[in-house]
């Protein structure tokens, strides 16, 4: 960059007055304080209203343990499936060409906007008691609606964009030169993918998995509709919070909500921390 002494000396002229600057910062801090910080503090206060002991007692309740266990049992397969097929879809979007690719690309963002209730309802239309696939499922004796498979499908729909939208830009920026170099040195397609492409996508996977997991852990509407929230059977952690709230067990509801929020938060903050450390290394 070339030095621009004349502009540098003109700089102070363009800066708004100090009071304006302070006022703008104050407005933003107040807004974020009221909108985000105050509710967080409220949740913390509500969960600890009867002391830490009462809050922790929530997690000794077998119902609560089962609910959190079910959330994990749904989220982990979702993350694995999304990592595998997300890679395939991202690769297809970046490297492959076929008619209709643009349309597919647009469709992938749709789960951001489709209401979770509608997602659950779609699956109910397919797999429910009077659903389109009901005869097939009955013949094969598979239960999808009001059971774990349906909830996994719903969570897959809801978390679809995250992995793909993390991986595709990295794949695009990475280019194909290194892969071609590996191929000319005699590596076959699988080796090239395993040794060259996959390591380049490392950070995309970290982010994609974090976002997918955070979204899967917190999903509510879609799993409520397709799972039915049957206590002890299809009740996930979020569904437990909702029921506890309904039954006026406030401390339990707030504690479970706090645990869910804190877990997702730690996940996202942890990833951010890893990224900063990686950036410093460079």
């Amino acid at each position: 960059m070339t030095p621009r002494p004349s502009l540098a000396s003109a700089r102070p002229v363009a800066r708004p007055r100090r009071w304006l600057r302070r006022a703008l910062v104050a407005v933003v801090l107040l807004y974020v304080g009221v909108l985000i910080v105050a509710p967080l503090a409220g949740l913390l206060h509500g969960a600890l209203a009867d002391g830490l002991g009462a809050a922790l007692a929530t997690f000794r309740d077998p119902q609560v343990q089962r609910a959190f266990g079910l959330t994990l049992r749904i989220s982990l397969p979702v993350v694995v499936v999304q990592a595998v097929f997300g890679t395939a879809v991202a690769w297809m979007l970046v490297r492959d060409n076929f008619p209709g690719k643009r349309l597919i690309n647009g469709l992938i963002d749709l789960p951001f906007a489709v209401s979770p209730v509608v997602v659950g309802y779609m699956l109910l239309l397919l797999f429910g008691r009077q659903g389109l696939l009901a005869p097939v499922l009955q013949a094969l004796d598979i239960q999808v609606a009001f059971a774990v498979p349906g909830m996994v499908l719903a969570t897959l729909f809801v978390t679809l964009p995250f992995m793909i939208r993390e991986l595709a830009p990295i794949l695009k920026a990475f280019g194909i030169q290194q892969e071609q170099a590996a191929a000319t040195l005699g590596a076959n397609g699988w080796t090239t993918f395993w040794r060259i492409t996959l390591p380049a996508l490392r950070w995309g996977f970290v982010y994609g998995i974090t976002l997918t997991l955070a979204r899967a852990l917190g999903e509510f509407g879609a799993v409520l509709v397709i799972g039915g929230g049957i206590q002890g059977r299809t009740e996930t952690a979020t569904l437990y919070v909702y029921r506890a709230l309904d039954e006026r067990q406030y401390v339990s509801a707030y504690s479970a909500a706090l645990a869910l929020g804190a877990f997702s938060l730690l996940l996202v903050l942890g990833t951010e921390f890893l990224r900063r450390r990686e950036e410093k290394k460079r």
Partner: protein, 286 residues
């Protein structure tokens, strides 16, 4: 090229696995998308249109369904206005100013993406519920009811969509050439004129795409709203909550019709965002 050479070239290409690998990946990626995304979407449209467009329209315009849709659009519109102004301001402050707590503020912006929306609703109820000190005071002193009413819905939507505008505007603001603003200042323009005539125009496209994205997200929101607004027909029932009610009471066509309406809104907004983003990429190229 002799035939043998051609054959060899063909064989080596096959050895690299190009056609097989490509087709395998394409088929598996497309069938995954079809299974998870496209078939479920089509099924709802098919069900919603089973009684023709007129049947669909008369189901959507039934008073309770219509009121739910209008409440959804109204609260989302209010949210978008506030979110656009405050999101732009937050991005501006984050990019241009130095102040204590700046990195904390930057981290807080992403927080709503990590918090489950149901938990968002729970937090707002704890703060503004009619039995809670703040909620009771607001109602007594200002006559403002937050929970089970539209202000609560707007607050929940604002929380959930806060990152969208900020994160859309921030990178563009960061890449702006500030010497243009300096030039405007040296020509005698005040801070407001500079912002309106110099800084704002290049931000308009990303701002619009952030605003549309937050609107799209808000229209379908359920977890935060069911806790904050409850399920009072004609008063605090949004479209997503209405669909849930219809599913629960096994009114299949009612659920399908409003689902189709919600999805058409979602489709068109996502399409608009996609168009804006491809236009921006086109601008970058030139």
């Amino acid at each position: 090229m002799s035939q043998r050479q051609a054959q060899r070239a063909d064989k080596s290409q096959r050895r690299q696995g190009v056609p097989w690998g490509r087709w395998g990946l394409r088929v598996s990626a497309l069938s995954y998308l079809a299974l998870i995304l496209i078939i479920p979407l089509l099924v709802v449209f098919q069900d919603g249109l089973s009684e023709g467009l007129r049947g669909l329209w008369s189901e959507i315009t039934r008073p309770v369904a219509w009121a739910a849709l209008m409440l959804t659009l109204r609260t989302s519109a209010v949210m978008v206005i506030i979110n656009t102004v405050m999101g732009t301001l937050t991005a501006y402050v984050l990019v241009r100013y130095e102040f204590p707590g700046k990195s904390l503020l930057n981290a807080l912006v992403d927080l709503p993406l990590a918090i489950p929306t149901l938990v968002t609703g729970v937090m707002l109820v704890i703060l503004y519920g009619p039995q809670e000190p703040l909620g009771a005071w607001l109602e007594r002193a200002l006559g403002l009811r937050v929970i089970f009413a539209s202000p609560g819905i707007v607050l929940a939507l604002l929380f959930v969509t806060f990152p969208f505008v900020v994160r859309a505007v921030q990178p563009v603001l960061l890449s702006l050439d500030r010497s243009v603003e300096d030039a405007a200042a040296s020509l005698g323009a005040g801070p407001w004129t500079i912002f309106r005539r110099v800084t704002l125009p290049p931000l308009l496209l990303p701002l619009t795409s952030g605003a549309l994205l937050s609107f799209a997200r808000a229209v379908g929101e359920f977890g935060a709203i069911i806790v904050v607004a409850g399920n009072i027909p004609l008063r605090s029932q949004t479209a997503a909550v209405y669909v849930w009610g219809e599913v629960e009471s096994e009114n299949r066509f009612g659920a399908s019709a409003v689902s189709v309406a919600l999805m058409v809104i979602a489709f068109s907004l996502i399409l608009a965002v996609d168009l804006i983003q491809s236009r921006r990429q086109g601008e970058d190229r030139t």
